[in-house]
Symmetry: C2
Subunit: 367 residues, 2 copies
């Protein structure tokens, strides 16, 4: 029987010892009935089976459970349900790892990944630089002005703020046309290409329409918030034939990772699940900023996104928030060259303006 495994952190508690906790997960995520009422073939063919257990502390265990692939029916939505459907409603269960090697028929990973982007961009020995067009409320012309300044300073990737959708003050098509046009002009003048990733987050059908429209208008990639549009839609985009890399943004995902005894580890969510679903770039909140991860957590995300043990192309770890222009070399040294550094706010406050800020950012990448 074809199977795959999921590894959990399980926390036992007064009402439930570790054996009961394991049994609970094995049944809850499959038959959803007490073992006593199940036929033998359901127990053998459907219910999860613990295959490894390691005690980490008094009440904490790392437990691996093996699941029949047949339960998923080759369906990403049902994979997510089996992974963390009902057990999301029970305390003391955290997802650490999935055995992706058994899931390569279901997941395809990034279409480009680190190597594909490097080859396309012809940038081989340094991190990538990225920034965001904002704020909400700006007109397409204003956003295009910003894009022009960033491009003039040599930024590799300019993404929309993930809140820019199709508001009246900056309609989707107008915004894309203005920004693409202005960035192209700079690229032609300087000979250095800057890539534009508009935000296409919306209801899933609209996402695909905007994806096609972005491709037709000449965008270089797209930005999406998987936890708003739905995780399976990320995979669907990565499977499309258009050649637009996908950058994933963590909006709305925080609750899944911020409780140490529940949800997903950040490394699993951003570095592994998003990678399996096809994100070429995985944005995560960097240490030291206005968000909540510490440095070891960020390193773990980077490692997961690049790990060679995962049977998909690598994703670009894209730390954001908490990186100031002056500290780019620090982060480059900290995280290594296979990183896309995303700086927004700190450039907007630069005393010499956006182009100078972008130049300072770019210069530190080469060092």
């Amino acid at each position: 029987m074809a199977t795959f495994t999921v590894t959990y952190l399980l926390i036992s508690h007064d009402e439930m010892d570790i054996d009961e906790k394991i049994e609970q997960v094995c049944l809850e995520q499959s038959a959803e009935l007490p073992r006593s009422v199940l036929a033998r073939e359901i127990i053998d063919g459907v219910v999860g089976r613990p295959v490894n257990r390691e005690q980490l502390a008094h009440d904490r265990y790392e437990v691996t459970i093996e699941w029949p692939l047949a339960n998923i029916g080759n369906d990403i939505a049902q994979f997510l349900n089996l992974l963390y459907g009902n057990i999301s409603l029970q305390p003391g269960i955290r997802i650490i790892q999935v055995d992706w090697l058994s899931l390569t028929d279901l997941f395809g990973g990034p279409k480009f990944g680190i190597e594909g982007i490097r080859n396309q961009y012809e940038i081989h020995r340094r991190p990538l630089s990225a920034t965001a067009l904002k704020p909400l409320g700006s007109s397409p012309e204003k956003l295009a002005d910003l894009a022009q300044q960033f491009a003039s300073g040599g930024i590799d990737i300019i993404k929309d703020d993930h809140g820019l959708t199709d508001q009246k003050y900056a309609p989707f098509e107008d915004r894309l046309k203005s920004c693409i046009n202005r960035i192209d002009r700079v690229s032609q003048a300087t000979g250095q290409k800057t890539y534009y990733f508009p935000n296409i987050t919306a209801e899933a059908h609209e996402v695909e329409e905007r994806y096609q429209r972005a491709a037709a208008l000449g965008a270089d990639g797209v930005l999406v918030c998987p936890h708003i549009m739905g995780l399976p839609t990320l995979h669907r985009l990565a499977c499309r034939s258009e050649k637009l890399p996908v950058m994933a943004h963590p909006a709305f995902s925080g609750s899944l990772t911020m409780n140490e005894n529940q949800g997903f580890t950040p490394a699993f969510l951003y570095g592994q699940l998003w990678r399996a679903l096809g994100a070429d770039f995985v944005i995560y909140p960097n240490a030291g900023g206005r968000f909540s991860y510490n440095l070891p957590t960020c390193r773990a995300i980077n490692n997961a996104a690049r790990s060679l043990e995962v049977p998909f192309k690598s994703s670009w770890p894209t730390p954001a928030g908490g990186i100031s222009v002056e500290k780019v070399s620090r982060w480059r040294n900290e995280y290594g060259i296979d990183t896309c550094l995303l700086i927004g706010g700190s450039m907007y406050g630069h005393p010499e303006g956006l182009t100078a800020a972008a130049q300072e950012f770019s210069n530190q990448l080469e060092a």
Copy 2:
């Protein structure tokens, strides 16, 4: 300027007093830049503005912030982003309430709601009974057998287990045809109608195909997991022209509600947001079962789902898990008649079989 408000529980902490915390939310969910770099028209027209603050305890405040409607651009995905996008990644922020009256152009609420279903089903003075077909691994014939027994016992609504999608052992169409056929036969024999809600959870495009297919095959409603397929897709289903009520299942949603200092209150998520998005039935984990909510939380969900202060049709609170057949009258008395009681496991273990269990369940509703 047209606006709407969101009310938050904010927890101040060592690094950030309550004024800073409020300022953080106002900026993070709009301009995403420091106030110092923003133009006057952005501050006036885009940034959130606190309009009320109440101290609940030493470090806990209930704070209401007013937002420009223009920031949403009539887009449910962008509403979700403004509601809880980046701040999901920051600790000590919990969503309590939204001023739905200002959002009736964006949200439509349930198509049927409590009254619509009562009129259609001609059931006016009692709660509804619901159960689930399971386990995974059963053939369409086996599931149809179960459906027949439940229908013979007088259950109002039979839903699929939310893990039944399109697995080889029970393909979507075969399952629907078998179950619909068998339930219809019982209804014709007894003169009492039982309604079948197949699970259509999948990637968003597939959801709509299955919705149409379910309608064409004669299903009476659909079951979806909004947090797997994507919340905006729930709204899209509720706006379709087919007359299928939508039942929403909480799989994958737990992390949003289970930390008291973060995410959404269960009453807000299940009773308000799902209702605004169009769920006719909102399934939530009942107190006393294998999940984590207590009785006051469940009552708060019920009240939110039925509240007349919300400008949408009411949703059926559908407590599930933790209800045994013997205790149906207790829960009917506890929650009142505008409740759909969902019992799965306890009926499967009934010593006299499913039909007897279903009869016992049904009888207690009338009492």
